[in-house]
Symmetry: C2
Amino acid sequence: MPAAAVEDSKAHKFNPNFTQQVLAATGQNVNLRVKQLTHSLIKHLHDFARENELTVDEWMMGVELMNEAGRMSDSKRNEGQLLCDVLGLESLVDEITYKLATDAADEPTATAILGPFYRHDAPKLEMGSNIVRGKQEDGDRTWMHGTVTDSMSGKPIEGAVIDVWHTAPNGLYEQQDPDQPEMNLRGTFTTGKDGKYDFYCLRPVPYPIPFDGPAGKVLQALDRHPYRPAHIHFLLRAAGHKPIVTQIFDRSSKYIEDDAVFAVKDSLLVDFTPFKGDPNAEFELPYDFKMATFEDAKNGMLNGSTEESGAV
Amino acid sequence: MPAAAVEDSKAHKFNPNFTQQVLAATGQNVNLRVKQLTHSLIKHLHDFARENELTVDEWMMGVELMNEAGRMSDSKRNEGQLLCDVLGLESLVDEITYKLATDAADEPTATAILGPFYRHDAPKLEMGSNIVRGKQEDGDRTWMHGTVTDSMSGKPIEGAVIDVWHTAPNGLYEQQDPDQPEMNLRGTFTTGKDGKYDFYCLRPVPYPIPFDGPAGKVLQALDRHPYRPAHIHFLLRAAGHKPIVTQIFDRSSKYIEDDAVFAVKDSLLVDFTPFKGDPNAEFELPYDFKMATFEDAKNGMLNGSTEESGAV
């Protein structure tokens, strides 16, 4: 189809009143935000169908892909979310959220998507603990440490809770892998007065997102690989501060320019440096977090939904 | 949001390269139509998110709605399809298909959506049979009859198979209702040399689409009712002709201006007229079908997907 036709979705040969008729069915007793979102979605879906002259077969293939994603989804897997991820939608919503927050406040640590492998009940560990559970696995042992500060005042935050999780060297999160101990490579740490934290983990490796479902079909249809660059997930909470959902990425990792879910940001690239003098670690990873107060961020919506979306 | 911002989705404050980055991940080894549809969908989804400054919560509510629809869907129910129906998408795809076909051929009978209650194995019945099975139910007994002709030549079509289905007077299709006999109010009829058909049925009544799932949630959120006006479904096939999926609507029915799934077309409105002299029917319904040959319609795509979509 010519680019001009795509640009101007009003210029088509189909019933020009149909979409308006669907929108006009909306009643009076509606939440205005729900109405805005639904009407916008209807307009985009209809424009998509008209611009591409969507056939019944193609539409039905899309319906079946959605239904299949729903049937695969349960408390351990969210295939609908993964389908959005490979289309870039979760990373885009994250970038919208972060942009609105930083427009309203001093710059906190950049955010990245939560992803489908978060668990809300990771064990509370003592500062300096190792999040590797059971026997030591393969992988480069790493000492990670830093300080959690307030993004405006620069002062350390006491009582900040750092929730960390990453994959095992085989590329699987513990809940995907019956051979890993429960809660392997997960933990939460609470800062003291100095805002400092430290723990031992492994240097993460790239891994494929699950590609045995609709998200995998989309990747295959687009001739794309399913790999994510090596990263560690964080969820930070502290009284009076907006939660931060983020990931940090190993700058030297394969796929760093080519994340299957488009979550990499420059400010989240980190360097694992060789570490001498600690018998428990071959690498060191210093990283500081900056959190915005609710007051700073009150005009934004920085990760405001952590509690709810964490449940999936 | 101001209308201007919605009109020009390029004018926003977010990373202007993000969508291009997602599209650029597509590999070389792709079907061009799959690429066109997926890229267009990604652009529309991203524009939708940016124009509305979609939050993580709102996005996640959409994911959960899709997942729930998938979990409810099985061989007897397609909730993903129903979700599209209440957003007008199935009727729009039907109108696109029909417009392309009529641009290429003489005007056949207008089409309407298949809906989720078609069964491919309805019983073959003798001309003049009653599709009410078991004891006569309540409802106005109707004698329907007409001729199937070729839309170009006007000649009767021999061997046309007419597949008909409609709801019982309680508003339920037989597969939704354990109290109805198997295949109640369904049947297929094959025309002879004269192209004529006739059978007895009931005058249909308005009924609600199932609203105990995500489609119902959308209707409720938009303060909309779930009712469809009274209608009878048809699927016509004949050798050398494009299949026709359609519905005819009782002009005097409630909801005729306000179908929950937007399928009504003026040319599909019919009149049930009081009928004297037949002890088996209180009403008469004459209706002729016009079918386009494959040659007439070869540049269009009139209902080309009947076989596949009928399986859902």
